[in-house]
């Protein structure tokens, strides 16, 4: 049985923050029993319900961050402070923090891409005072999320409009030589996460990636979010190297709403990221 809310609970939007031209954060005054990497299901009554990561978290508040993409997220963006949204969860299995990080003997790297950053912020807050490297990538300057929230971060854009030109994965080799990472956490486009995973495998580093799949139940019964025998909603969304290694769909396939298994490219065209 899950902790938290089995059924959606209507919560008043306490504050809305513009994170970039197409991204907003929605803040709520509510206590949640939450571990970094878990997600909530966000319900717009009569419209639809979709999964979102929690991007801000404190004793008596939490928030999530939404990139306007399709109909649902645009409707979300139109909501005003004081209006109510349904929340159920948190669900799923979040990031783990190895002892070597907790006791300060090891070091970690966190790599976020695009709106995937939203899944990493609470983890970053937990780890920023340890030996942690933070890399954020985006297609262009205006899509770089949360770049002002943290000190000591390295930014990347595909078009070089801010930070370094290229992908966060480009400099991993150099950074690892210097920091000897015990673990690398990542969330972002699956192709990026796959590269991180391959890098980790090569250097025998633990890797944890937060996957995204279209979800229905969110509680591990319908099978919609399957990724090779794993339910992303329940066994994930965060998986470690061992699990990822067994998932041949990781970096390659996903189910559409009908259950049809398609390439990530085709899935991306349907759902975007």
């Amino acid at each position: 049985m899950n902790e938290g809310f089995e059924q959606p609970v209507m919560m008043k939007i306490d504050k809305i923050i513009d994170e970039s031209d197409d991204t907003k954060s929605f803040m709520f005054r509510h206590n949640l029993d939450y571990n970094p990497g878990q997600f909530i299901m966000v319900w717009l009554p009569g419209i639809d319900e979709k999964p979102f990561a929690i991007s801000s978290f404190g004793e008596d508040f939490f928030g999530f961050t939404v990139l306007a993409r399709g109909n649902f997220t645009k409707l979300l963006h139109n909501m005003k402070q004081g209006e109510q949204i349904g929340i159920r969860g948190p669900f799923g299995h979040g990031f783990s923090i190895p002892d070597s990080i907790k006791d300060g003997t090891g070091s970690a790297c966190i790599i976020g891409g695009g709106c995937g950053m939203a899944s990493l912020t609470v983890l970053i807050e937990k780890l920023q005072d340890y030996n942690t490297t933070i890399l954020i990538g985006a297609t262009t300057k205006t899509k770089l999320l949360f770049k002002n929230r943290y000190k000591d971060i390295t930014l990347f854009t595909d078009d070089g409009s801010e930070g370094r030109n290229g992908y966060p994965t480009d400099i991993l080799e150099d950074l690892h030589k210097k920091h000897k990472y015990n673990i690398i956490y990542t969330c972002g486009p699956e192709i990026m996460m796959y590269k991180v995973y391959e890098f980790c495998r090569k250097y025998n580093i633990q890797c944890e990636a937060s996957l995204e799949r279209y979800m229905k139940c969110g509680i591990g019964i319908c099978g919609q979010c399957v990724c090779d025998g794993q339910m992303v909603c329940k066994d994930g969304p965060v998986f470690d190297s061992q699990a990822l290694g067994k998932m041949s769909d990781f970096g390659s396939c996903s189910l559409l709403k009908s259950g049809q298994r398609v390439s990530l490219k085709e899935y991306g065209e349907w759902i975007g990221c």
Partner: protein, 306 residues
């Protein structure tokens, strides 16, 4: 003391134990069926498949409540052709796999059966009983003896595989339907599909939670009704019954078997006790059977009728 023997013969199909994954739970991919097999299920059913792909209803489609679960998934499925592809080499799954097939008219069912004919399914299940999807089940008038007979007869001609007919708990005279199905050549009855439908309203939102507003009830709420259905069907037909509805413990499984079931479905229980519920239930059955001097499932079937 010897460990009780949980194996059953379900119209010629050998199951290592009576637990079956019912349609709609995790049955979207071969990889998940493997996982279900690894977790001790005796057999598994794929998500119901129609000829054409269906996206189903919008979210929320599934909602737990204090006495079980409400769902209106709306029969989302990738269609018969995709399904044949996904479940090709289904022999890789170590347990028998049942294909659940839906349609509006008898001909629809046959077309799906034909598309799946190359796949090594162990049986065909016909859910003539969904209470909440227009064009299918009860909403297509499939809850009558005549319609049951039509569809089963048509499918009977199209396949040599055992046919399971899945019935609705909403039909008070469920034994009539079971009898029609048996007469038309069905090899087993799956009893039951979800109940209702029901509705849960979020009072702050002032709206039904399910996007489709209503959904079928499964889980605890359904259990006594499913047990009664199995009890009634057992008195009406000779073919075996897969008792399904609210089972989450070994005691529940034994109760359903005593009512007349040969095998038992476990769906909503997965949410309550995890995917290894199949193994847990089997273990609990073994312990109870040992303590109560039962050596085989056979000895338990229908004994509440004595």
């Amino acid at each position: 003391m010897t460990t009780p023997n949980l194996t059953i013969d379900l119209c010629g199909i050998k199951l290592s134990n009576p637990t079956v994954l019912p349609s709609g739970f995790l049955g979207t991919s071969k990889s998940l069926l493997k996982r279900v097999a690894d977790n001790g299920a005796g057999a598994a059913t794929i998500k119901s498949v129609s000829f054409e792909a269906r996206e189903g209803h919008k979210n929320p489609t599934v909602i737990p409540f204090e006495a079980g679960m409400l769902n209106a998934v709306g029969y989302s499925n990738p269609g018969a052709e995709e399904t044949a592809r996904e479940f090709a080499n289904i022999e890789d799954v170590s347990i028998p796999v049942i294909a659940s097939i839906i349609g509006t008219e008898a001909g629809d069912f046959v077309r799906v059966v034909d598309k799946l004919s190359e796949t090594q399914f162990s049986a065909i299940e016909l859910p003539l009983s969904c209470p909440h999807t227009p064009g299918f089940g009860l909403l297509a008038g499939q809850g009558t003896p005549e319609s049951t007979k039509d569809i089963v007869s048509a499918v009977r001609k199209a396949t040599k595989l055992p046919i399971f007919v899945k019935l609705s708990p909403n039909i008070p005279e469920i034994w009539n339907l079971a009898k029609s199905a048996e007469d038309a050549g069905a090899n087993a009855i799956t009893a039951v599909n979800t109940l209702g439908p029901g509705m849960i309203i979020n009072i702050e939102a002032r709206k039904p939670v399910l996007s489709y507003k209503v959904g079928g009830v499964s889980g605890q709420a359904l259990r006594p009704i499913a047990t009664r259905c199995v009890y009634d069907i057992y008195e009406a037909v000779k073919i075996p019954i897969i008792g399904t509805g609210g089972i989450s413990t070994g005691r529940h499984a034994i109760e359903m078997i005593m009512a007349g079931a040969t095998a038992i479905g476990v769906g909503t229980g997965i949410y309550q006790r995890g995917i290894d519920i199949f193994r847990k239930i089997c273990r609990e059955m073994e312990i109870w059977m040992s303590e109560n001097n039962f050596n085989s499932i056979e000895e338990l079937i229908g004994i509440a009728h004595e």
